[in-house]
């Protein structure tokens, strides 16, 4: 007898597989509060880290007496400092994400990455960018999974707020360092560099996932068209669009490269996926291969 689905965003099987994985943050921007996340400095966890010479004043409980017995020199054992990391999951809910399952994939990825955080006893918060202010206050522990799922399932799409403005609004209420997972198409005319800088300054390692619709990755256009922006309702007349596809792809790749650069320059990560890709492939395939999760 199959157990009931915990959420419509992920299957139970995917949740089981996620239980064995955790986010691989490159830098140790963590909270001082204790957690399961290993801090860069020595801590008080049970996981051995290193030895160092004994200094007067050190807690003698951490002296390795076995070594002292053999070589008569006192060494102090060091342990990993397990600190609590804040995982902020930001989902772009603007109108541009309503195309061809982009928003759905974004919610699934948010759920998956949020599960990774909660399972690792990290503090997880979530927020919607681009639309009505929706926010999941920081929560931790596995007991918060339903809360996370409910938030994401009920996330209302639609809005015109640019992503950089949404990030700025989110950061005004955010406390804690860790990882900021930004799920968006990043098709904004605003200054993304400033948004990335703000995240980095807030102690958040940027995990940027660009989700593009298949029609954005490989548009099939021809003739004279009037493009209408779904958010701004602005229009652009294009003649002989089919002849411009090559140029479009160049600019799309250039934009992707720019986003990659922005993330890497701030010790972050960037990944571009298609909205048509299954969540399993993205999470357990692409993200694992690229070392996002381990």
């Amino acid at each position: 007898m199959n157990a009931p689905q915990l959420t419509s965003l992920l299957t139970n099987r995917d949740l089981d597989r996620l239980a064995r994985l955790r986010l691989n943050a490159a830098r140790r921007f963590t909270n001082r509060a204790r957690g399961e996340h290993l801090a860069a400095q020595g801590g008080t966890s049970t996981e051995f880290c290193d030895f160092r010479d004994y200094s007067p004043g050190d807690d003698v409980r951490f002296v390795d007496w076995n070594i002292f017995a053999r070589i008569e020199r006192a060494y102090v054992k060091q342990f990993h400092q397990e600190e609590e990391m804040h995982v902020a999951v930001l989902v772009d809910a603007s109108n541009s994400m309503l195309f061809e399952g982009k928003f759905d994939l974004a919610r699934q990825l948010a759920a998956a990455l949020g599960v990774l955080g909660l399972r690792a006893q990290e503090k997880v918060s979530a927020g919607a960018l681009g639309g009505v202010a929706q926010r999941l206050r920081p929560c931790t522990g596995r007991m918060a999974l339903p809360k996370l799922f409910t938030f994401l399932e009920n996330l209302a799409p639609g809005g015109k707020t640019p992503i950089e403005q949404g990030i700025e609004l989110f950061l005004r209420q955010h406390r804690g360092r860790g990882v900021a997972v930004v799920l968006s198409d990043f098709l904004s005319g605003g200054d993304l560099r400033r948004a990335f800088n703000q995240l980095h300054s807030a102690g958040l390692e940027v995990f940027a996932v660009q989700i593009l619709a298949p029609s954005e990755l490989a548009p099939e256009l021809a003739g004279d068209l009037r493009f209408v922006d779904c958010e701004t309702l602005g229009h652009l007349d294009i003649s002989s669009a089919g002849d411009l596809l090559g140029l479009y792809h160049e600019y799309r790749l250039a934009h992707e490269a720019q986003l990659t650069g922005l993330a890497q320059q701030r010790a972050g990560k960037f990944l571009s996926v298609s909205a048509a890709e299954p969540i399993e492939q993205v999470v357990f395939g692409t993200m694992r291969k690229k070392g996002w999760i381990v």
């Binding site: 904004s188 922006d229 652009l236 669009a241």
Partner: protein, 622 residues
């Protein structure tokens, strides 16, 4: 290529609103996309790299521009110039003489139709900056239109043009064209003719002439002469002369002679190539009759107008001659001649009109006669030019070939009356008054004659009684010659068929309105003069003309072509003018300027169809 309506080029400014409105009002399919960010960059890049990309890639706009351009070009009325230069004004001389009615084949087209087709082509392609004037010429020329660019007027005048059964006179047409130069200048004339006119003319060309000779017609056979001469026994010998065109082969046929509608003789005839056979019929009648000869050939005869001829025979009667008794010598000479009656006489009353009057008295000039011989009298209109002095003189010269002076020797005759010309009288003063000098004295004319209609006036400016002429053998001969002239003038001795062109002078009741009708709907009203003379009646078509004055019975007179030149269908290949200029005929159809507006209009229609097709296939581009 040139344009007739170049000012229409301003319509090209319509391209500006076309392009503007196209991009402003282009109905593009709306395509909602997540963001315009990338496309804005793409478009900016495209505009920078290819400013005219929109124009090059947008076929619909290009088609519209092409369509508008074609329409504007059509409105500019382009044409292909076939000649190096084109006259601004061009008189067109169209030959409408009888030979232009000749057909090229049985049931084919006449040469006038061919000429009209050429002119119609010129009219159809007439550019707005060129004016045509149509002039038709046969025996005389008439202007159909002035210089005009009105195609409808030109076509109407051309369509109304019909062949006249007359001989062609090119000089008349050239003189008419020359007269046109006084009102509107031009330097070239287009002549459309079959070339059936004399190859040499005395006309001095003040302009160039483009002689377009029409194609040769088929063989022709016709009657070229039809006359009659009185024969003894109250009979007439009727002569019919036939001829064929130069290219006609030997043919056989028959000639019928009708007398007042009844066939009185038929003769089979063979028309050998190059021969002009002459047939003789004999008619026994002393009453006025109408004769008609009709030629029928076995093969194709291209011209019908010369196949019939009409002839009026007058009633047989003696010549009525008035000669005063005091002119003894004349009465003595007349007494020896047959078929004449000399008045006055005691046993017979004088008729109301005479055929011949001899007189030396001005009072007798009131007598009505067709032929008058004045003796020792100076005609009233010559009194200013000549005066008679009582001096002896002799004849210096005389016209021996004149019928009146045939076999008359004046060399040794002494005249005691000396006509002296006035000092102011010029050489052509007599000719200007219609007089011809038959004998010339040392100081003035001795004998003059004048023909006015069917009236003949012979004036001896000396009195024969004061000369030695009556004692010469030439005197009775001279009297006989005058009688013969009177017989001819009265039509009593011989008569010939009247020719088309102008009817012969007729004598009717004086001062009467006369209504004339003829073939082809011909109708005309004229009025006789004080002497009952009716002259200058045009007869453009062969056939019977009827004259009605309301009192006397209608008078019929037939007009026939009877022109060896027209029947021969001869065509000159070049014309020699008086100034040694020779104009060669061109037989090829002249290339008229070709109008291209309709070609552009057709291409524009095709472009319109392509544009429609392109517009219809546009849905479903995404």
């Amino acid at each position: 290529m040139s344009f007739s309506a170049l000012p229409a080029a301003w319509l090209f400014t319509l391209l500006i609103p076309l392009v503007v409105f196209y991009f402003l009002k282009l109905k593009r399919p709306r395509h909602t996309i997540p963001s315009l960010v990338l496309w804005r960059q793409v478009l900016a890049d495209q505009r920078v790299n290819a400013p005219f990309q929109k124009f090059k890639r947008n076929l619909l706009l290009l088609l519209q521009i092409l369509l508008l351009t074609l329409l504007i070009l059509a409105a500019m009325q382009p044409f292909l110039r076939r000649e190096a230069s084109r006259a601004q004004r061009l008189p067109v001389l169209i030959d409408i003489s009888a030979s232009m009615a000749a057909l090229d084949a049985p049931g084919g087209t006449s040469r006038l139709d061919a000429a009209k087709k050429r002119v119609r082509d010129i009219i159809d392609t007439l550019p707005p900056d060129q004016d045509l004037a149509l002039i038709a010429f046969g025996q005389s020329a008439r202007r159909l239109t002035g210089f005009t660019n009105n195609r409808r007027e030109l076509r109407l005048a051309l369509d109304a043009l019909a062949v006249e059964d007359v001989t062609g006179d090119l000089d008349e047409a050239l003189r008419m064209a020359q007269a046109l130069t006084r009102s509107a200048g031009f330097d070239k004339v287009l002549l459309l003719s079959d070339g059936n006119f004399p190859a040499r003319t005395n006309f001095e060309l003040p302009f160039k002439i483009d002689f377009q000779r029409l194609a040769d017609a088929g063989p022709n056979y016709g009657i070229t002469a039809f006359n009659a001469r009185r024969a003894p026994g109250g009979k007439w010998d009727v002569f019919v002369q036939l001829a064929a065109s130069a290219e006609a082969e030997t043919a056989s046929g028959s000639v019928e002679l009708e007398q007042d509608g009844t066939v009185v003789g038929t003769e089979s005839v063979t028309l050998p190539k190059g021969a002009t056979p002459r047939l003789v019929f004999q008619i026994a009648t002393d009453q006025p009759v109408q004769l008609r000869a009709r030629l029928t050939t076995a093969g194709f005869d291209s011209l019908a107008a010369d196949n019939t001829a009409a002839l009026s025979l007058p009633a047989a009667r003696p010549l009525a001659v008035f000669c005063p008794p005091k002119l003894t010598a004349y009465r003595h000479a007349l007494a020896s001649l047959d078929s004449i009656t000399v008045f006055p006489r005691d046993d017979l009353a004088s008729p109301a009109a005479f055929d011949l009057v001899f007189t030396d008295s001005a009072d007798d000039l009131l007598l009505s006669a067709r032929t008058i011989c004045l003796i020792g009298l100076v005609p009233e209109e010559l009194k200013a030019l000549v005066a008679v002095k009582a001096e002896n003189t002799t004849a210096i010269d005389w016209r021996r070939e004149s019928p009146l002076l045939q076999h008359v020797q004046l060399g040794d005759v002494v005249f005691m009356d000396q006509p002296v010309s006035a000092a102011a009288a010029k050489d052509d003063a007599f000719a200007n008054l219609g007089y011809e000098i038959l004998a010339q004295g040392p100081r003035g004319p001795l004998i003059v004659e004048r023909t006015d209609g069917d009236a003949l006036l012979i004036a001896l400016l000396f009195h024969t009684d004061r000369s030695t002429l009556p004692y010469r053998v030439g005197f009775p001969i001279f009297v006989s010659n005058v009688v013969q002239a009177a017989l001819k003038q009265s039509g009593l001795a011989e008569t010939a068929a009247a020719r088309t062109g102008v009817l012969p002078p007729l004598t009717l009741a004086p001062n009467r309105a006369v209504h004339i009708t003829g073939p082809g709907g011909f109708a005309r009203d004229e009025r006789t003069d004080d002497r009952g003379q009716l002259t200058g009646i045009p007869a453009p078509r062969a056939g019977d003309y009827t004259l009605t004055d309301g009192t006397a019975p209608p008078r019929h007179i037939g007009a026939s072509l009877l022109s060896p030149a027209e029947t021969s269908l001869a065509a000159v290949t070049q014309i020699e003018f008086a100034d040694q200029l020779t104009v060669a005929a061109a037989t090829a159809v002249p290339k008229a300027d070709r109008s291209l507006w309709w070609v552009l209009a057709c291409v524009g229609f095709v472009v319109l169809l392509v544009e429609w097709w392109w517009f219809q296939r546009r849905p479903g581009v995404v």
